[in-house]
């Protein structure tokens, strides 16, 4: 379980995210949605201890993310941000191999190799594993990054807008692979999403944020309502019943 208690981040005297108090249970996919500047990424990066917390505390699986050594946290949660730029040229397999660093400390054992292969296969990158990242398309590269955090083999996986810059096909593939990661591998996935319809279809819980605080938190059925979405996104939203569940129409 991820537990946030009175978490706050002060960017300036009048720009502040929080206080946020929420519990995200283990298992399944939890989607963070909301308008730009609502604090989705801030909350996610604070859970992933990439950003200092100004007030409050965050516990992941009973471990305080600030006080627990970073090494230990790296075996409990993994986080992937949007921008990934490396100075070195890496193949897919080398990148995924870095996901084992919390266990191997750089010396990959046969066991590590086994998990690296599995993560690569899981994201259908088997054919591409010896290709360099700069020879891949954006969607393939995104999958390689996700394979790296899956190889890290943590119970909790945090992803910051993994669908950014992905076309329809790759976005759907990515989400169904994350769905598999949650269902088959038992990972707890927390994901920042921009498209409310993706969130509604693929996630188990939706956490809607607005102006730095939590506006709504519930199952997709509870969130996918005209009045709720209209309030959260400051836009007139109409929810219709589509062939595969509720669809938000906002244009």
């Amino acid at each position: 379980m991820i537990e946030l208690t009175g978490v706050r981040k002060d960017y300036a005297s009048d720009v502040r995210i929080g206080p946020v108090t929420v519990q995200i249970p283990q298992g399944g996919i939890t989607a963070l949605v909301g308008p730009n500047g609502a604090g989705k990424s801030t909350i996610l990066t604070m859970i992933g201890r990439l950003l200092d917390i100004d007030h409050g505390s965050i516990q992941v699986a009973g471990h305080d993310v600030v006080n627990t050594p970073s090494k230990a946290i790296a075996r409990i949660l993994s986080i992937l941000r949007q921008e990934n730029h490396f100075v070195t040229r890496l193949t897919v397999r080398q990148l995924v191999g870095f996901g084992r660093f919390p266990y191997s400390r750089g010396r990959l054992t046969a066991e590590d190799e086994h998990y690296i292969s599995e993560a690569i296969d899981f994201l259908n990158l088997t054919e591409l594993e010896n290709r360099y990242l700069d020879q891949l398309s954006g969607g393939q590269r995104q999958r390689a990054y996700v394979a790296m955090v899956l190889a890290q083999n943590t119970d909790y996986v945090l992803l910051d807008e993994p669908l950014n810059n992905l076309d329809m096909q790759h976005a759907v593939q990515m989400m169904s692979q994350l769905r598999n990661a949650a269902d088959e591998l038992g990972r707890t996935v927390v994901i920042v999403l921009h498209d409310i319809n993706f969130a509604a279809h693929y996630s188990d819980r939706i956490l809607a944020m607005k102006d730095g605080t939590i506006a709504e938190y519930g199952t997709p059925e509870e969130i996918m309502r005209d009045e709720v979405l209209t309030r959260v996104f400051n836009t007139a939203v109409q929810v219709i019943q589509g062939p595969k569940g509720p669809l938000a129409v906002y244009y």
Binding site: N84, R105, E111, E113, I116, G186
Partner: protein, 388 residues
Amino acid sequence: MTIQPHARTAHRSASADTGGIAGRTGMSTAGSGQVTAGVPPLARRRRTLLPLLSGRRQSGPFSDARHLRTYALVMTVLVVLAIGFTVAIMTWNNPMPFGSEGYWTIAGMRRDSLLTIGVVALCHAMATIAFQTAVGNRIITPGIMGFGSLYTAIQTALVYLFGVPAAAMLVGVTPFLLQTVAMLLLATMLYTWLLSGRFSNVHIMLLVGVVIGGTLGSLSNFMQRMLTPSEFDVLTARLFGNISNARADYLPYAIPIALAVTVVLWLWAPKLNVLSLGKTAALNLGLNHKRALIVVLMLVSILIAMATALVGPMMFLGFLSAMLAYQFADTYSHRLLFPMGFLFGYTILAAAYFTLRHVWNAGGAVTIVVELVGGIVFLVFLLRKGRL
């Protein structure tokens, strides 16, 4: 077999240290049939010495067998060249008859020059590669942080304030160590201050380094204009990188220190590999990014201080050897990059020194030649390959 996601707690603790996808969940193969296919049991999987040649799926610093062969070939050529130039410098054109006392005296002086070349190449190659990894940029060098300028400023200030006798003051083990400590202190202060608190940003640190370097450079320039011609002459002789004129009495201190730092960087190589992925990825993998950065930058400042005190500022050598190592090794692994960078540095310096001093009898201009020839080689190579 399928284990329910929420019934994994006990299993998790049992395999917390080595846990893997299948190990933890029993990996239902219904949804993704290829996941476990073809993976032999863990107990029977062994590492082979040359996994790439055996065709097995294995990660490593080389992407394929051809890559491995290229690396081995380049290293072999470099080792042969390095040994060749070493032997040539030691034996070429020694005027005394072999075996006489004078022969060994000359050979001893040449040995000191070679040791200096070795230390300088080691310091610059290691420092530049580690620095570029730490700051995530392969174009800037430690020189940008004002190390060379600080050295110049200290030397110039002493000559300016105390005249030519100060040039004598600058020679000796104590000033050498003091100068090293001064450079180390500056670096430590700068890095810890700039990387903690609200400015925790590598780019701001670099910018401040550039400004400090520029300020110190102008200050030195200003003082140099006020010197008498004879003072200026003495100072210039000190400031130009000069291997044949290197202070051999520093070597007993410089060699162990440089080697110690090299060993530390070697042991840290896996962390440097992770550091090269950038801040967020390094943090995600459990590396204390800020602390690692400060440690690496301090080690770099020690190396640069050593090399600078021995032969003066010589920043392009590090850039060149690092860049050539990146191009030829083409790997993330610092344990492969460091030796190649060192060998490139050593070969380039030794070749320039041998050609200038023993073939053309023009000992002083080694750095100038390194920069000229090295720069051209680098440009040609880069233009042909088309990427950094």
